[in-house]
Symmetry: C3
Subunit: 158 residues, 3 copies
């Protein structure tokens, strides 16, 4: 059976995890937009502070930093530091042919850790809570990268 | 026929869209460099303000923010919030086996929306113009992610 | 032979390069954490300056910018501007079926350039040294993208 087929349950598991993480990245962009609209501020471009359909009532200070908006940008940046690496290594991990159980634990574990990280970050939980979810996600990516290295290095040494 | 073969026109379409978007990301880095050279400023590292072949005539204020340079960095950041997610979900989308027409609309649609977004951003068009191109690109990625979920979820529930 | 198999030495080469670059991204996050702990500062979230197991002795100014921490964040950002694009285009490059020698030069060349870039950046070498390694990595990604375009465009014109 082709490993990169939806008929392969390990690949289907990866596809679900990857699609959810792609949605997570994209939705964070929209959350930043929603927070800028709610705050009527937090914009970063001079042209955004001009009057227009999206900004009917400009006010001074719309380009000042807004903590709610910046928090969403920080969450987004944290996603970018973790999710693209996950998407790439997850695909290589599937090609190793791991057991479905290992794939489910690692792939869904990353998704769960990332979603809980955003939840903890959004609600300004203590550093320790956020750090636990960050660490779980990061260690899963590192584990998959080491696993891929262990599978690939013997093949180039022959 | 292997789906991940250049002989598959859907895959070839993805490869073209992906390569163009990779070039877009890389070129934005060079645009930032060119703008720093044009402004003789906008640098972010203390060592960059020292005299050397790339900085023959240091002047005070080279580490101050420069709007042209920062605008290029903001465009770059916006690319990073959208393009890596597109690259990953586009590959999974190809593996669903969509029609060539659907692939062309979504993949080339994303590329076009992203290039027009950069054009609008670079020339400081109104927020609304930029937002339209951002939204088209973002919604295409979201649509492909939902499509992948719809293909993958039934396979893991059996 | 399946091109995306570890038995294909070109793919195994890509898998090693990709896994190393994924580890690089993840480790930079931990370096930022380590530098925040060493500086007992450089944090970006108000909640991180509160007392807790990870911050037993809060002090004023923990949210101020810290150059060591910011440098690690800039290195991380530079990675994100280069590595995800490399991961995506490298996989497409493998599917062209290049010679093993070409793959080794481009893929390991990128990895080497990126690691030397981080070394130069971390130790605040002159702009020129850092720029050389940045340029090598960037040009390798651009070369692979052009190569992919050259392979894919004829297939969609038929």
């Amino acid at each position: 059976m082709d490993q990169l087929s939806f008929a392969n349950p390990v690949f289907a598991t990866y596809a679900i995890a990857a699609a959810l993480m792609v949605l997570k990245i994209m939705l964070q962009g929209w959350i930043t937009v929603a927070r800028m609209m709610a705050a009527n501020g937090g914009m970063v471009n001079p042209e955004d502070a001009k009057a227009g359909p999206a900004n009917p009532k400009p006010r001074p200070g719309q380009l000042d930093l807004n903590e709610d908006v910046e928090r969403s940008r920080r969450i987004h940046r944290n996603d970018l530091e973790n999710i693209p690496a996950f998407l790439a290594i997850g695909l290589l991990f599937v090609l190793i042919g791991p057991s479905l159980l290992a794939a489910q634990w690692l792939l869904y574990g990353f998704v769960t850790a990332r979603l809980l990280h955003t939840l903890a970050y959004s609600t300004a939980q203590s550093h320790e809570v956020r750090a636990i979810f960050y660490s779980i996600g990061s260690l899963i990516v590192i584990a998959m990268a080491v696993w891929v290295l262990a599978a690939a290095i013997p093949r180039v040494l022959n």
